[in-house]
């Protein structure tokens, strides 16, 4: 006779549940299920940070001229590829030397240099059950490439492709990693008590300083400043720019959410809340500031405002609450509008506002940890300032050296003729929108 519900099977299931392996855990140890949950979240976060590269690519393409679109996309494609590879070959080891310091607290490289692990790296023993060694590498690799792509927007439309590729290779492999080891690699800034939850300083200001030096050394695009007067060079595709910013916001769910380094419900949910509140506040802050300043609301400023809020909250996303996140984001949104206008005024041509979003708001976000939230206090504020200055000095000096060396050897900027005809033609011999028409043909 066929019964739907057999008592025999219920008893068997119960007995199996009682004796199932992996559920009985020792005191303080993490269960296999929880380890899996944590690691899955971290891998998902790595994927979300990865998608930020698509965000950067589309944002930069949208805010620059059509004749340079292939070049912009090519640079962004290169960055994520070279970032992952260099991080695997030595970047991860430079950023996280463990106890293999050469100059303690300042410079070290983990044993083995290239990514490798024994069985212990795949167990709960590796990172308290938060993730495995490979997940650790991958998540952090996505961050490394993000620092480089910030530079690409500021130097767009006039930097030589090869020169940019060389700069990126050196900057991501050595500058980002060595500076990053000072805090996340348990170096001297970490010992000092400096705090950067997900990288307002370590990622965004590192990219921002490189962007500033690059844009300064390159000089403005042709036609941007005529007889001392600034003539805007509008981006060619606002829809792409908008898509880019929303992809970046989506990616930030992983950028900040994954920086919790586990799937801890309390920490991750709070972090995602602060992140989104700051992004929204940044968007509104920039929207209304640009409306007030320019009499009409500027979409590109509103989009920059969202990013400004995100960058601003990144240093302390796990330390803030709702109002602190709102203020940090809103202030970042206001700052970014004035910063974009100011940077233009001092004749530094930044086609996408990278310096304003990532450097200026990265510094704001870092300092905000000493002003708002759980770590607020004058002592912490001083520590934050120390980190800002240390990174500033290191990144500016190294950027000058790298860009300077490139300028002296292979040259930094394309010829005037090439810049006029467009880098797509000059560097790639390609057109971005072949056969693209904007009106119906019938």
């Amino acid at each position: 006779m066929h019964k739907l519900f057999s008592i025999k099977w219920v008893l068997i299931a119960l007995l199996f549940g009682l004796f199932a392996p992996g559920e009985a855990v020792a005191e303080g140890e993490i269960s296999a299920g929880l380890f899996t949950a944590n690691n899955v979240w971290m891998m998902l976060a790595a994927g979300l940070v990865f998608i930020m590269h698509l965000g950067f690519a589309t944002l930069e393409a949208g805010l620059t001229q059509q004749k340079n679109t292939v070049n912009i996309l090519f640079k962004n494609t290169y960055i994520v590829c070279v970032g992952i590879i260099t991080y695997a070959i030595c970047g991860f080891a430079l950023m996280y030397p463990g106890d293999a310091w050469i100059i303690p607290g300042w410079l070290g490289v983990a044993k083995g240099v290239t990514i490798q692990t024994d069985a212990a790296g795949l167990t709960t023993g590796y990172a308290g059950g938060g993730y495995t060694y490979w997940t650790d590498f991958l998540f952090q690799a996505m961050f490394a490439a993000t620092a480089a792509t910030i530079v690409s927007g500021a130097v767009a439309e006039r930097i030589k492709l090869g020169s940019f590729m060389v700069f990126t290779l050196v900057y991501v492999t050595f500058v980002y990693t060595i500076a990053g080891s000072w805090k996340w690699g348990a170096g001297w800034l970490d010992a000092l008590g400096f705090y950067d939850f997900a990288g307002s300083t370590l990622v965004h200001s590192v990219g921002g300083w490189g962007a500033l030096v690059g844009a300064f050394l390159l000089g403005p695009r042709l036609g941007k400043y005529i007889n001392g007067e600034m003539r805007p060079i509008p981006g060619h595709n606002m829809p792409l720019a908008c898509i880019g910013v929303f992809l970046l916001w989506l990616g930030w769910f992983g950028f900040n959410g994954g920086s919790v380094l586990s799937a801890d419900p309390a920490l991750t949910s709070r972090t995602l809340m602060t992140t989104c509140v700051a992004a929204a506040a940044g968007g509104l802050g920039a929207m209304f500031t640009s409306w007030f300043v320019s009499k009409k609301p500027d979409l590109s400023m509103a989009l920059n405002g969202i990013l400004a809020g995100l960058v601003g909250i990144t240093a302390g996303a796990d330390q803030m609450y709702m109002w602190s996140s709102l203020f940090i984001g809103a202030i970042a949104g206001i700052i970014v509008v004035f910063s974009v206008i100011f940077i233009d005024k001092i004749k530094i041509d930044d086609p996408v506002g990278a310096i304003s979003v990532h450097l200026v708001c990265g510094i704001w976000g870092t300092l905000a940890v000493g002003i708002f939230g759980d770590m607020a206090g004058i002592g912490q504020l001083m520590k934050q300032l120390t980190g800002v200055v240390a990174f500033g000095v290191f990144c500016v000096v190294t950027s000058f050296v790298i860009f300077g060396a490139i300028k002296a050897t292979m040259g930094l900027r394309v010829s005037e003729e090439e810049e006029t005809m467009g880098l797509d033609q000059g560097e790639h011999g390609m057109v971005a929108y072949n056969d693209f028409t904007t009106r119906s043909t019938h």
């Binding site: 805007p232 300043v293 320019s294 500027d298």
Partner: protein
């Protein structure tokens, strides 16, 4: 035969085309152009900075008609393209040397 070029406001194209069809004009060519006359350009805004855009989008309409139709066609275009506001456009009339139909080789009035 005469060639009539008309620069008109883009949104007036359908009205002009319908009116020309009504009076028996058999073919027109249309292109998107930009230009300015006494209608000034306008000011645009980008990231906190204003800049002047001198050129305005217009539509250029070309058609070939028999000389006898000149007044009719000009009146039709004016009536359908006019808004009364600055920037309505202009009509240019030139004498045409010849016109040939590619498919058949017809020339002159046959080819209109």
């Amino acid at each position: 035969m005469i060639k009539i070029d008309a620069i008109i406001k883009p949104f007036k194209l359908d009205a002009v085309k319908d009116k020309l069809n009504e009076i028996g004009v058999t073919g027109i060519t249309v292109s998107e152009v930009k230009g300015f006359g006494r209608q000034k350009g306008h000011t645009e805004l980008y990231r906190g900075a204003e800049y002047k855009v001198d050129f305005l989008p217009k539509v250029k309409l070309e058609t070939i008609v028999a000389k006898e139709m000149e007044d009719q066609v000009v009146d039709a275009i004016i009536e359908s393209a006019q808004t009364g506001k600055i920037g309505d456009g202009k009509i240019f009339i030139t004498d045409l040397k010849d016109i040939i139909r590619i498919r058949t080789g017809d020339k002159g009035k046959e080819a209109i």
